[in-house]
Amino acid sequence: MLNLIVSRIAQMFFLLIGISFIVFMSMHFAPGDPARIIGGPTATESDITNIRISLGLDQPVLIQYKDYLLGVLQGDLGYSYQTNESVNEAIATRFPNTLNLAIASMIVAIIIGVFAGVISALKQNTWLDVFTTTGALAGISIPNFWLGTILILIFAVNLQWLPAGQLTAPFWTVEGMKQLILPAITLGTGSAALIARMTRSSMLEVVRSDYVRTARAKGVKEKVVVFVHCMRNAMIPVITVIGMNFGFLLGGTIITEQVFAINGVGRLMIDAIANRDFPMVQGSVLLVASLFVIVNLIVDIVYAFIDPRISYD
């Protein structure tokens, strides 16, 4: 187990270096001269040369990358070309909103997904099963930005039950939770559908297994069979799906933040792409991709812990 963890962490380290390289090079080859962007339309040629020297842009690209990487390792992501704001600060103020949204969506997705999947498997081939599986397919197919807009129209505008986004209150307050509900449902629906499908197929497999039949034959109560005997084994693949989905939810926040005007890392990234603010794009993409890799690593390790049959050799 220790070997597994060490080798996975070593792999992750190289992956993170690779990610930083890709992100840096993408920005380097993107059209638009950063010095001209910073200098603005009125800058003279000598101004631009000065800016280039002060930013180290006159150096060969690999030296620039080395400097950037050293900065990142020391926790310095650079400064915005547009506002001169520190990228670290810009991300630090917005990241909590993104994380809250991702966690809330995950909770919504797990509750709906596992519940729907278990019901669907236990009532296989009934109208309830058909309804749930079709619903899950619809959940995968629904564009979440559209779902968000429709939810705002129904629950915020017409019924006026919930606020239409913007996470202004802390999430532990009633107001904060209310603000999270619609964005969390919007973002969590797709994952809920995937979790439901995985739970259903996994439960169906376990329900048919010999040890469950034995348990039933012994006269164990149905509730105990379902919740103790079946769930325990059926949840193993579901946990992987949940873990992998958390990473995707982090990526998905980009769109949901835009729909609900939430001040998060995703919106920061979209604005930065539109403004060609490369340090901001680099910083936010690097953060989200790194988190994604780290979450996947944790899922891998947890998976090996809960299922001793798994070997990664």
Partner: protein
């Protein structure tokens, strides 16, 4: 001797036919997949015959007929804030969505299949190619596409390129897995001992035998491609106005949610139906071709 050749040929034909027929028959038994096939057929017909099915061009403005509701005379799906006919925009949007889907999935398959074949066939290349793919896998969901658009600039063509690059690692992994199991088969060994070139073995003998997972992947990927294109256009990173792209239409409709909700609702339903259709057909194909197929 002649009879033998003839009979061998006819057996081959019968086999080919029966595999195709068999798959088709099995799909027809799956009610959801049939619904999906019908939706996709409708979309393709709309896309091909768009000019014949609409009375207005998708970008013709009529400022005296702005924001007409659904069921208005001459505009059965209403009009948008510029007085453009919603039905025309939806129909031409169907054309864009199917073209973008085919374009990005096609390009992604091209890259993915070649890399997957090389990686599965040559052990020496396997490590490098798969580590590269791992690197691309490290970007969650739409993020990689966004990064590529940041380099290339915002346009629908760049979205196609971005989504195709995003599709490559998934495709390469599936193809590699299939190649690894297929290349151990005896008929491949036989080809090798006959002295066939690597290229011939890869493209003439392995590739035709691993089409099932590729077809399923492509169908499912159409759903992702169409959904992602609309999402990127919604974010303003893809199709630009006045292009009648469904995601861009939703973004434009949002400002008129209170007065003309149909501007948002109609294109959303269009996206959902099409993505649903490709998903269920993909599911159906997987079950029909090989129930044990592992796409992960």
């Amino acid at each position: 001797m002649t009879t033998q050749t003839v009979s061998a040929k006819s057996i081959k034909n019968v086999e080919k036919e029966s595999v195709f027929k068999d798959t088709f028959k099995r799909i027809l038994k799956n009610k959801l997949a049939v619904v999906g096939l019908v939706i996709i057929s409708i979309q393709v017909l709309l896309a091909i015959f768009a000019p014949l099915l609409t009375s207005y061009a998708p970008d013709t403005q009529n400022l005296s007929a702005r924001e007409l509701p659904i069921g208005s005379e001459g505009h059965w799906l209403g009009t948008d804030n510029h007085g453009r006919d919603m039905w025309s925009r939806i129909v031409y949007g169907a054309r864009i969505s199917i073209l973008v889907g085919i374009g990005s999935v096609g390009l992604g398959l091209l890259g993915g299949v070649v890399l997957g074949l090389l990686s599965g066939y040559y052990r020496k290349l396997d490590g490098i190619i798969m580590r590269l793919m791992d690197l691309l896998f490290a970007f969650p969901g739409i993020l990689l596409a966004m990064l590529i658009i940041a380099i290339l600039g915002t346009s629908l063509v760049n979205v196609v390129i971005a989504i195709s690059i995003w599709s490559i690692p998934n495709c390469a992994r599936i193809v590699r897995g299939s190649v690894l199991s297929t290349k151990k088969e005896e008929y491949i060994l036989a080809q090798r001992s006959l002295g066939s070139s690597d290229r011939r073995i890869m493209f003439k003998h392995i590739l035709p035998n691993i089409t099932a997972p590729i077809i399923v992947f492509a169908t499912m990927r159409m759903a992702t491609a169409i959904l992602s294109t609309s999402a990127l256009s919604y974010l303003g990173l893809g199709a630009q106005p006045p292009t009648p792209e469904w995601g861009a239409m939703i973004a434009a409709g949002q400002d008129y949610m209170w007065t003309s909700p149909h501007m948002t609702i109609v294109p959303g339903i269009a996206i959902m139906l099409v993505v649903f259709a490709f998903n269920v057909v993909g599911d159906g194909l997987r079950d029909a071709l090989d129930p044990n197929m592992d796409l992960n």
